[in-house]
């Protein structure tokens, strides 16, 4: 329980306070909305909620809002709308009745009765909260067997799970689905430039015929799983070797289709061959 205004606990004080307009200790956070304030005010009138004097209630509410605004400047809009409406209702109740009521507007008395009815409804629910709290509550007032025996008797057709669980299960998956991205990694290729540079560096050592696979860099997949594949090393080295052949610094030969390719540094200049 908050220490907020409790008119039911201290009727006389609250009533006396209501007379001189200081009905409420202003506690905006203690009231959830205009209806809750109205109910607190109405209770201090000590009458049947349905017989309530709306004009008196309106006065008290307006005073409350006035004072509350002094305490907290940014008073919620709902409080002010309710204040305006109450002022309007009060004026209609006080004014002499027009001979022909305007269409679309129910009589002021009826509007007042509706408000009283709503307050009675809210009041009865707040009493219900108290009544429920007075019930013997499990694990507070009453206790089940502390050490049930091992037998569990549960009918197998019953299973657990409610709609909320179903919705939660659905949404968690859909969220997961959206979080999942397919990002294919483009295969790493052994750059042709690197292959050419490397092959040029190797030229002095390649006086004898050497197989292409012997020249290509060895598989580095172990150390660098994301690195180029062995096929890429081989392919780039072949392409580079063909370029070097064209430049005239390398010789290549293959005995027949699909057999090994051999490479060797060209010793005679290209022109001599031509």
């Amino acid at each position: 329980m908050s220490t907020g205004f409790q008119p039911t606990l201290d009727f006389e004080a609250a009533n006396a306070a209501a007379e001189d307009g200081a009905a409420l200790v202003i506690d905006i956070d203690g009231y959830e909305g205009p209806l809750h304030v109205l109910l607190a005010l109405a209770r201090s009138q000590k009458v049947d909620l349905l017989q309530l004097s709306i004009t008196k209630l309106a006065e008290q509410y307006l005073a409350f809002v006035q004072q509350a605004r002094r305490v907290r400047f940014s008073l919620a809009a709902d409080y002010l709308v309710m204040a305006a409406w109450l002022a309007y209702l009060k004026s209609r109740l006080l004014l002499p009745k027009p001979e022909r009521p305007k269409a679309e507007e129910p009589p002021a008395e009826e509007m007042a009765a509706q408000l009283a009815f709503r307050l009675a409804k809210l009041d009865v629910m707040r009493k219900a909260v108290e009544a429920l709290k007075d019930q013997p509550i499990l694990k507070r007032d009453v206790f089940m067997r502390g050490d049930p025996e091992a037998v569990k008797i549960v009918s197998s057709t019953r299973f657990e799970g409610d709609l909320y669980a179903l919705m939660t299960a659905y949404i968690t998956q859909r969220k997961r689905e959206h979080g999942r991205h397919y990002a294919p990694r483009p295969p790493q290729a052994y750059p042709l430039e690197d292959a050419r540079d490397r092959l040029r560096g190797l030229l002095p050592e390649m006086a004898d015929w050497t197989t292409l696979s012997g020249v290509a860099p060895v598989d580095q997949h172990e150390e660098d799983p994301d690195g180029p594949s062995p096929a890429s090393y081989l392919a780039s080295t072949l392409a580079a070797s063909l370029e070097l052949v064209k430049e005239g610094v390398l010789e290549a030969r293959q005995m027949q289709a699909f057999s090994d390719i051999y490479l060797r540094t060209r010793t005679e200049p290209l022109e001599a061959l031509a």
Partner: protein, 215 residues
């Protein structure tokens, strides 16, 4: 073959005592010899335990033993720190319990405030409240109701055992449908009774429409 009523009573006693959760008559019937008068046995047993340190009670249509409420002071070690419900959550729970099935808009109409996000969530998560279905009105809003766990928590046999429910219904305070012609401008923009069909069909919506049309 007739079954000794005392034997039936003893069997029920043992089963309920050993079980970790409340048992229904059907649960008991499955274990007991055929022909045993279980209803009678439960009644005998309840009478036998009346006023004892432990009592036999019916919750959510099932039976369980529990310690007598007046001995709660002894149970300091068994007591669990209860999860405290906020005032708003308590009020919302009460409205759902007494008005079910009830829509979110109707809860808000009674309270005069919009239900904050967390309020219903907490009740749903605690399993005190569940979604029941949909109202057959435009928009088909979801309706809420209480669970068996709610009844078990508050030690209620059925919803009819909610404190004061009969008086409230007699006073017309549980009807979600306000009398015809309701037109209080609501700061929250909620007008129960205008777009709502009555829950139990005890107040014909046509009447409300006719009334409005006349003026």
């Amino acid at each position: 073959m007739t079954i000794d009523p005392l034997f039936t009573e003893r069997c029920i006693e043992a089963l309920l005592f050993a079980a970790a959760e409340p048992l229904s008559v059907a649960d008991l019937a499955k274990r007991l010899p055929e022909g045993a008068d279980i209803e009678q046995g439960l009644a005998d047993l309840a009478a036998r335990y009346a006023g004892r340190g432990i009592e036999l009670v019916q919750v959510a249509g099932r039976w369980r033993y529990q310690t007598a409420a007046d001995l709660a002071f002894l149970m300091t070690e068994e007591r669990e720190e209860p999860r405290r419900l906020s005032k708003a959550a308590q009020e919302t729970l009460a409205i759902i319990a007494y008005h079910q099935p009830v829509t979110r808009a109707e809860i808000e109409a009674v309270r005069g405030v919009q239900a904050s996000r967390g309020t219903l969530d907490v009740l749903l998560e605690l399993g005190l409240v569940k979604m029941r279905g949909r109202r057959r009105t435009p928009g088909r809003p979801v309706t809420f109701g209480t669970t068996d766990a709610f009844l078990e928590h508050y030690g209620l046999a059925t919803l009819a055992d909610l404190p004061g429910v009969a008086e409230m219904r007699a006073a017309g305070l549980l009807s979600l449908d306000l009398p015809p012609g309701f037109s209080v401008p609501d700061p929250m923009g909620l007008r129960p009774g205008e777009d709502e069909d009555p829950l139990d069909g005890d107040e014909a919506p046509e009447f409300a429409q006719d009334f409005l049309g006349e003026s």
